[in-house]
């Protein structure tokens, strides 16, 4: 009898202990963000995944920045700059009295150091990492010079209008040279920047704890700690945000949004983004090389149904590669492709494919920004089958998929979520034939007039001259239909009501500097 009682007491105590842990209230000055996966690395030039950027953008800054909520370029670590008349020399005047988290000062030398590390492959620190973006963003840079401790000059080989946007990209963030010299390859775990937060601990797979940088030049943030935890399973993220275990998260299943919007403790924040989700069509495929066939496919896909039923309204139909977020650059007078299977069949017949044709349709099973790739593919496959086009789906996991995509598949899904707010970055990368074979222009799309417009757009500085170039390019591209234009995904972030002052940013970053907790 007494043994049983001992068991009973033991279990009772355990239950009490567990309940006490369960009902602990969250602290007033710290918040938890549930990410899809934990950050990979914290060395800015090496980062390629969104989750890592969401964390490190609290720790580092670049010479320029984007104004919160828009793609407008504003001063970052450089408080002002001059651009030479020929567009080749940029002179940046650094903010005074800015310190890195390790106490060393921000100087022009530090900026030069960071750029040289990536650019100079003979340099002493080149071997401390790999730099996926250096060719793209710094390939046009002839040199970086120190004019004086607070002025740094960057010379370009050729004028490039988007350059200021590039400087706001995370791969060009500035970090402490002393830290790199000290840690070398282990920089990936020891980030030292100038940002409003600094790294307190990183327990791999468990959590990342950032704490407030009281010496931040822009004024210390109101919250003391930001904690990031990876929650891989979507249902678990949903559960965690509803119970209040986490304060903010993203990518909840679209079907649960209706329920979340009704929940009084939860806020669903949405905004348009620059993302575009499309299907690249191989313009060298026997059937797809005919423009009418490609247009037919665009008429065949029921985009509204996909957005309404699968994405549950978390996107808008894409009528052009550039979403409305691009402001004046967005062209709204493009050819439209409403759902019209009859027109699709007519076009196919006209092109000589009344009996349809077969095509292999590559689909990734996941991937950042791919929304619901397999479900959307299933619907699209059915839409196409209804007009006689037999698409055979081939799913692959992301690593293998990327390789396949770059080989020029016949038909493949892709989404592009640029953090660079310049129209050049999307249009030139994806639709110019300059970068063949084929790089990201997976469908081998080639239109000489479009190429010319995009080339001119890269070097035209005056916005009044630039805008018409991109608008014409969009009209041509949409008519040529090298893609099936599907949707622009909205950014949907779900957070608890106690998180106040949060504003969404078009490049999917979760900015916490101005946030406070109720």
């Amino acid at each position: 009898m007494s043994r049983r009682r001992a068991w009973g007491i033991g279990l009772g105590l355990l239950a009490v202990a567990l309940v006490s842990v369960a009902t602990a209230a969250p602290p007033k000055d710290a918040m938890v963000i549930g990410l899809l996966a934990e950050p990979v690395t914290m060395d800015p030039p090496q980062i390629t995944d969104l989750n890592s950027t969401r964390v490190i953008k609290r720790l580092f800054e670049g010479l320029t920045a984007q104004e919160l909520g828009t793609y407008k370029i504003v001063p970052g670590l450089a408080q002002s700059w001059d651009i030479s008349k020929d567009g080749l020399t940029y002179t940046f005047h650094l903010r005074p009295n800015v310190k890195f988290h390790d106490g060393t000062p921000l100087t022009a030398e530090a900026v030069k150091f960071c750029f040289d590390r990536q650019m100079n492959d003979q340099g002493p620190f080149y071997a401390t990492g790999t730099y996926p973006y250096v060719k793209g963003f710094l390939g046009n840079v002839a040199g970086v010079e120190v004019v004086n401790p607070s002025t740094v000059q960057i010379r370009l080989k050729a004028p490039l209008t988007p350059f200021l946007q590039y400087l706001a990209h995370h791969s060009l963030y500035v970090y402490s040279p002393e830290a790199l010299k000290k840690w070398g390859k282990d920089m990936v775990k020891h980030p030292v920047g100038t940002g409003p937060f600094k790294l307190e601990t990183w327990e791999p797979g468990v959590r990342v704890v950032l704490s407030r940088n009281d010496q931040y030049w822009g004024g210390a943030p109101k919250i003391r700690q930001a904690i990031y935890v990876p929650i891989i399973e979507a249902q678990a993220r949903l559960s965690a945000i509803k119970t209040g275990e986490i304060d903010m998260t993203m990518d909840v299943p679209p079907d649960s949004l209706a329920d979340l919007r009704k929940d009084p403790d939860v806020v669903v924040a949405e905004t348009n983004s620059s993302a575009v989700w499309y299907i690249a069509l191989n313009t060298r495929h026997p059937a797809l090389k005919d423009k009418r066939v490609r247009q037919a496919l665009n008429y065949a896909v029921h985009k509204d149904a996909i957005i309404r039923d699968i994405l549950k309204g978390t996107a808008i139909v894409a009528t052009t590669p550039l979403s409305p977020v691009y402001g004046p650059y967005h062209e709204d007078k493009t050819l439209r492709y409403p759902y019209d299977p009859e027109k699709a069949k007519a076009l196919l017949k006209e092109a000589g494919y009344a009996g349809g044709f077969d095509v292999t349709f590559f689909v990734p099973e996941s991937g950042s920004g791919m929304q619901s790739p397999v479900e959307m593919a299933t619907v699209i496959q059915a839409n196409l089958a209804a007009v006689g086009v037999r698409a055979r789906i081939q799913t692959m996991e992301w690593g293998a998929y990327l390789k396949k995509y770059l080989d020029g598949p016949d038909m493949a899904e892709m989404s592009w979520n640029p953090s660079i707010g310049d129209p050049d970055h999307m249009m030139y990368m994806l639709l110019s034939s300059d970068r063949f074979p084929p790089a990201f222009n997976a469908g081998f799309y080639q239109n000489p007039r479009v190429d010319e417009l995009l080339r001119r757009g890269r070097t035209t500085i005056d916005e009044k001259e630039r805008v018409p170039l991109y608008r014409e390019a969009q009209r041509l591209v949409v008519e040529d239909a090298p893609w099936i234009f599907v949707d622009h995904g909205k950014q949907v972030i779900v957070h608890r009501k106690r998180v106040q002052g949060f504003k969404l940013h078009p490049n999917f970053d979760l900015v916490l500097t101005q946030v406070w907790l109720q």
Binding site: T41, T130, D186, V188, R207, V229, I231, A236, G399, K403
Partner: protein, 323 residues
């Protein structure tokens, strides 16, 4: 495998260890080969879409991927024997500390699941065996079969929705609270994943325990002990359990292997920071050093556990030593 190392327990241990080594070498070869066979180049994946062919080639050279496969293997094994498991390609971090850290988490989960499996399984199995054909027997066997039949990820998500979301008794994900926590916090987080993972094992343990115990109960000497008038509990404790020990131990050994390797789905569903969830990501990124290091660690653990199980066999049953 005659009498290498001599007769008796010592010799047995030596022979078993010697037999284990080729297994580990085999595992290393297998993981090396399979990873290399998979299409997809870790250098290309790392550098992403914007890389040129020269960039990828240069990274491959830096990582030593351009050398012949056999040479790569020997170099890797050479370093492994010195305790260096290399550096993860995409993470840039050293493999050994990374893998050990995640292994601790998987070990905790495995221990929890094993605890539940053994506690539930043994109890159910013994109770069923001693009350064969009663409603208790049929019920627990029914539940056992159910446990084996439900896919782990389904059970996991159901548990989250019921116990975390609806009832708010347990957390939805993770190993510890984001704000940090101690042992109690860890246990609180351990419950749902351990139950998920342990249920299937519990079922297997229960069924096997039941059949082993049944077989022994039928033996003459047990009948004799009963006839002598020993209390039921004493009979069970002394004779039955001692002899049922062997097969039960085997099951436990196998379960450990299953749990270590099968925790992947549970770890993914609960975002448990273990080796399994890390490995899935590593395989997809073709992160050779990380996958190889992780697999080697799991295999070594499995082999060691089985060695211990075999040892315990030999201690309890002298007949085995002379094999």
């Amino acid at each position: 495998m005659a009498a290498v190392g001599g007769h008796g327990l010592q010799g047995y241990v030596v022979r078993r260890i010697l037999l284990a080594l080729p297994v580990l070498v085999g595992v290393s070869l297998l993981v090396f080969a399979v990873m290399r066979l998979a299409p997809g180049d870790p250098a290309a994946i790392m550098l992403g879409a914007q890389a040129t062919r020269e960039d990828v080639e240069r990274l491959r050279r830096d990582l030593g991927l351009d050398r012949p496969v056999a040479v790569q293997y020997l170099q890797w094994m050479g370093r492994v024997l010195q305790g260096d498991l290399g550096r993860s390609i995409p993470l840039g971090r050293e493999v050994l500390p990374e893998v050990l850290l995640r292994f601790k988490a998987t070990a905790v989960l495995t221990a929890g699941a094993l605890g539940i499996a053994v506690a539930l399984g043994l109890t159910a199995g013994i109770l069923s065996a001693t009350r064969q054909y009663s409603w208790l027997d049929k019920l627990s066997m029914a539940v056992a079969v159910t446990g084996v039949s439900l896919p782990v990820f389904w059970t996991g998500i159901m548990l989250i929705l019921v116990f975390a979301l609806s009832l708010r008794w347990f957390p939805s994900a993770g190993m510890i609270s984001p704000y940090g926590g101690g042992v109690t916090d860890l246990l609180w987080h351990l419950v749902l994943p351990a139950v998920t993972l342990g249920t299937a094992s519990a079922a297997a343990v229960a069924r096997l325990t039941r059949s082993s115990v049944l077989e022994i109960i039928r033996q003459d000497y047990v009948r004799a002990a009963r006839a002598k008038g020993l209390a039921e509990r004493a009979v069970i404790a002394r004779h039955v359990l001692k002899n049922a020990f062997n097969p039960i131990l085997t099951v436990i050994g196998v379960q450990v292997g299953y749990l270590l390797g099968g925790a992947i789905l549970t770890e993914t569903v609960f975002s448990w920071p273990g080796l399994g969830s890390m490995m899935v990501r590593a395989i997809q990124a073709r992160d050779y050093p990380l996958v190889q290091g992780g697999v080697l660690l799991i295999a070594t653990t499995f082999v060691v556990v089985n060695l211990i199980v075999d040892l315990l066999y030999a201690v309890f049953d002298p007949r085995i030593r002379y094999e």
